[in-house]
Symmetry: C2
Subunit: 226 residues, 2 copies
């Protein structure tokens, strides 16, 4: 049974069964844990580089193995296939991002400032990390042939930063209570992600992306203010 709580940015979904299979495979593997961590890291790094340079669609597991300096068979000890690799990249790259975002938001006193911080930090990350943004926003989409299975652990965590700030502001009296947190996080993320992805694929870049942050912030904050 697939029950998609947070559909992830129209991007990253995978058959959860294959993800689970890959995990089982890892724990059952006979490689020693320390070696395993090292090789897994190497393969992940190589995959980032290969997906970025060749595109997810064209990349082959052989290319990734060559880049990582391991045998092709070895990559399959750690990852089921390209989709599993891409999802793993996403999950790992999101972790520090989520932590930093959480810290940035925690320095703010009001929920209003927290929402503004989310918007600004997301757009600033995209602007400063064009290669990773391309990977997460564009290449990630090609994973989706295995639709409807990715339960979106990290993605859900990321969106929940938005709904938590909304609820905080509803309790403090900053925001209207009529809007539902699970709808609001989709509205805000959808708006910010559309602007960010548009920017990522546009050439030439005429404006600084972070300069759009104020306009989004203004619309959204006026939209929910009490």
């Amino acid at each position: 049974m697939h029950n998609l709580v947070d559909f992830p940015a129209r991007i990253f979904y995978i058959e959860s069964s294959s993800l689970q299979a890959a995990r089982v495979r890892l724990t059952q593997g006979e490689v020693r844990k320390d070696m395993s961590a090292g090789k897994r890291e190497k393969i992940l790094k190589a995959a980032i580089s290969v997906f970025a340079s060749r595109g997810f669609y064209n990349a082959k597991m052989e290319d990734i193995a060559r880049e990582a300096g391991v045998a092709v068979g070895t990559t399959y000890l750690y990852f089921e296939n390209k989709d599993d690799l891409m999802i793993s990249i996403f999950e790992e790259e999101m972790e520090p991002l989520i932590n930093r975002m959480r810290e940035n938001m925690a320095t703010k006193t009001t929920a209003t400032e927290k929402i503004a911080t989310f918007i600004h930090s997301h757009l600033t990350f995209v602007e400063r990390n064009p290669d990773m943004a391309h990977l997460l926003e564009v290449e990630m989409r090609f994973c989706s042939q295995f639709i409807l299975g990715y339960h979106g652990g990290r993605f859900k965590e990321y969106l929940d930063l938005i709904s938590a700030a909304l609820v905080e502001g509803q309790i403090s009296g900053e925001f209207k209570t009529a809007i539902h947190p699970s709808i609001f996080k989709q509205i805000l993320f959808g708006a910010v992600d559309q602007i960010a992805t548009n920017y990522t694929v546009s050439k030439p870049k005429r404006t600084l992306l972070s300069s759009f942050a104020d306009e989004i912030t203004s619309v959204i904050l006026h939209g929910i203010a009490k």
Copy 2:
């Protein structure tokens, strides 16, 4: 030179050169024009059905030809490849949608009502046409290996309905003048599309999608109201 004015919903982009090549091919074709229209239609219809049942990624030109009852070679007289077919489906399906949306919005007097109508009509279409929504929102994304080329004729037209309504409301004094129409159309479309796509891929469907329309409308309209 690729200059992407409106990035299309993180979805539908194609190398414009291959689209152009396909068009040149058509006009140079030796098939009679009336026959051409009939066969082209048949192939497009078959492609909709095959993409919907098998998924864009797995579909083959052979499957589409068989479904259309034509030789595989014939499909290449009209369409360069699967991507070209998918983009053509998008462009053709969007035309009546745009016209209906334009008519719906035209029946409203205020810009405020026009924006509300856009949101409500978009979500109602997605809710009532789940197969086409799946095709346009999910399968369409697999076209994107040919990134950065689709100039988004119909998609741009669709988004411009939003910016036109914003400008109308700015002139009438309903909306703040600070927000830029080209940013606003991305914010609104991003929010609505995120909610719609989330709904399309979610199972089970717990709520009517159109019931979310009021929440989005409320946030957005309060966000831009003077």
